[in-house]
Amino acid sequence: MSEQTAIAYHSPRIVTRKVRRIVSTILVTGLALGVLFLFLLPMVYGIVTALKTDSQISKIGAPWWPASEAQYEYEGKSYDVYLVPVDGELHAWALVNKGRQVSYFVDPENPEAGLIEWEGSWRQLDRAWQPDFQWGNFTKAWNTIDFPLLLGNTLMYASITTFGAVSSAALVAYGFARFRIPKKDVLFILMLSTVILPGAVTLIPTYFVWNQLKLVGTWLPLIIPAFFSWGTNVFLLRQFFLTIPRDLDEAAMIDGAGPFRIFLQIIVPQSVPALTAVALFHFFYAWNDFFGPLIYLAGNPEKFPITVGLTAFNNLYSQSTNLIQAASLVSAVIPVVIFFFAQRAFMQGVVITGVEK
């Protein structure tokens, strides 16, 4: 309310500044919207394509939205519907009687009017399309690649390793944050340096050992390493543990609590946001994991996680663009939904690991 009076009292200069502010808001927000539109366009493409029929995708002149060529039932027979130009207007009429120079149509909105004569070659006409969403593509993709199995495997893998990664990283981070250990700084740097070590350099002997133990083809080579704590996770948790005041530990210590009890009763309850962030990191990492399962589960399709299963599906059905898009989208649903609910904790974690290092 006071804004208008304010404008009235102020000099024209301030008014122009306000106008400029509004204009730049519109321009910058518009730019952001435009970039976002282009950025998410492939996703819209994926959704739309997943709902199309096989034939629509490659047909020239088909609309961009999921549709099929319209048909009209007239006197017990089915006829194709065309777009007929009459007096500069397009009418969606069903072609009943084809002719070289003259064809006969019926208007689906007014069939009682009977046949309409139209002069011209019906071959030149465009087909009329009607919206037709193939929700069945999702069911088809779901069944063809046995999604319940893949999802089950992935969920199993992601939950077990998330538990392992969070608990081991929390223990190690507690060790780094709270105890005086000789050469602790060196150990910490060593731990961080493993983050940038290319995985390939340890892969072959590790594979060989698992192979000797006859465990290649099982999930164990992928699950067990998660229980030995990973650098980024430890780093994030240590940073967080350092912010918890030591007074609490010390008070508990006087009450006779040992280090494990302090860890469980003081550190863990205080660090729920950081622990959530690490859990989310690892969960998404596991959901996305490809190279490890590809190598250790090769030839065991009943154990595949979703990423490897999706690749195998793509190799078999590379012509069915709609099914591949449907399958890809289904594989993305769970991480995206979790992200929407937990984005705050998650993004904070990303920032802590990314900025402070």
Binding site: F228, T307, N315
Partner: protein
């Protein structure tokens, strides 16, 4: 009271030889570090050493008894005889030289855009720009594979509708089949993973003290000059960190060429990157001795690149008032 006296006792003894109390503390500390120490030895140190030993063998895991010690023969082959090692490495570098700068600049562009005080609904934008980073990479690659399809993909259809240039069809933009375009297509897949870098940059931008901008504004510096002379230097640590991770990640680039064409290198071998070649040697031909050599070479290259990056960092990375440890 008691707490206080206990503390002083502890502090007095830190300088001397380890007291029983501190020994106990160290022991407990090592107990908590043990998952990492065991993992570090069993999953990093020993496999790395073993990997080096493997690189001196002619070795197939199917017939481990027939392993032969051949000295540095694998190394000689990788460094001097096998052209594909050099070629795949050059391809990896060429692709990184395109995708890394574009990816980083895009992340920085989004961060600056969303940090602007003139944007309405920042949080919504941030979430939506982050969202595709959550999609499994395999799905991302397959979705982009569709949208970049030369005939039916929307990118070409859109280019054709907007500019009138023929983009679809055999003479159009064959994103994934034209050797000149394929690295740009792969770079586009990568843009969907912009999320983490974007919000790390955003946090970096929000950490720039506002006094600096105010002072510059009084001095009459325009938006662009403030960007170049304040924003950029202040977030160089973040750029540096992203660059190190990006280079290491680029060396190991594998998924897209494997998912799209099973590592055949289509088109014209352009996508047979170093990691793809490593995978082929190690897990298709099971030449694990040679594979271990390739892995060690990658490690050495990664190490050299990291050292170079750290070496250059003192010339361009700005650490506000703090010594780098």
């Amino acid at each position: 009271m008691t707490a206080h006296s206990k503390l002083t006792v502890k502090q007095d003894k830190t300088r001397r030889k380890m007291s029983p109390l501190q020994k106990r503390e160290t022991r407990w500390g090592l107990v908590f570090l043990s998952p990492w120490i065991i993992g570090f030895v069993a999953l990093y140190v020993l496999p790395m050493l073993a990997s080096f030993y493997f690189s001196l063998l002619n070795f197939n895991p199917a017939v481990p008894d027939q392993a032969q010690f051949i000295g540095f023969e694998n190394w000689r082959r990788a460094l001097f005889l096998d052209e594909e090692v050099r070629l795949s490495f050059v391809r990896t570098l060429r692709f990184s030289a395109i995708s890394l700068p574009i990816g980083l600049l895009f992340a920085l562009f989004l961060a600056i855009l969303l940090n602007s005080k003139n944007v309405i609904g920042k949080n919504v934008f941030r979430t939506l720009f982050y969202m595709p980073s959550m999609i499994p990479l395999v799905a991302t690659v397959l979705i982009w594979n569709g949208v970049l399809n030369e005939q039916t993909g929307w990118i070409n259809v859109l280019i054709e509708r907007l500019t009138g240039i023929q983009a679809t069809g055999i003479n159009g933009l064959r994103w994934l089949a034209d050797p000149r375009l394929v690295y740009y297509a792969y770079t586009m897949f990568g843009l969907w993973g912009v999320g983490p870098a974007m919000i790390i940059f955003l946090a970096g931008l929000q950490g720039v003290p506002t006094e600096l901008y105010e002072a510059a504004e009084i001095d009459g510096a325009n938006w662009f000059r403030r960007l170049i002379h304040i924003t950029f230097p202040m977030i160089t640590p973040v750029i540096f960190y992203q660059l190190v991770l990006g280079v290491i990640g680029a060396l190991q680039y594998f998924l897209a060429p494997f998912v799209l064409n099973r590592g055949t290198g289509f088109p014209e071998g352009m996508t047979r990157f170093y990691m793809v070649y490593f995978y082929k040697q190690s897990f298709t031909f099971f030449n694990m001795g040679y594979g271990a050599t390739l892995a060690w070479l990658m490690f050495i290259v990664a190490l050299i690149l990291t050292i170079i990056l750290f070496g250059t960092s003192k010339y361009w990375v700005y650490y506000a008032g703090e010594e780098k440890s």
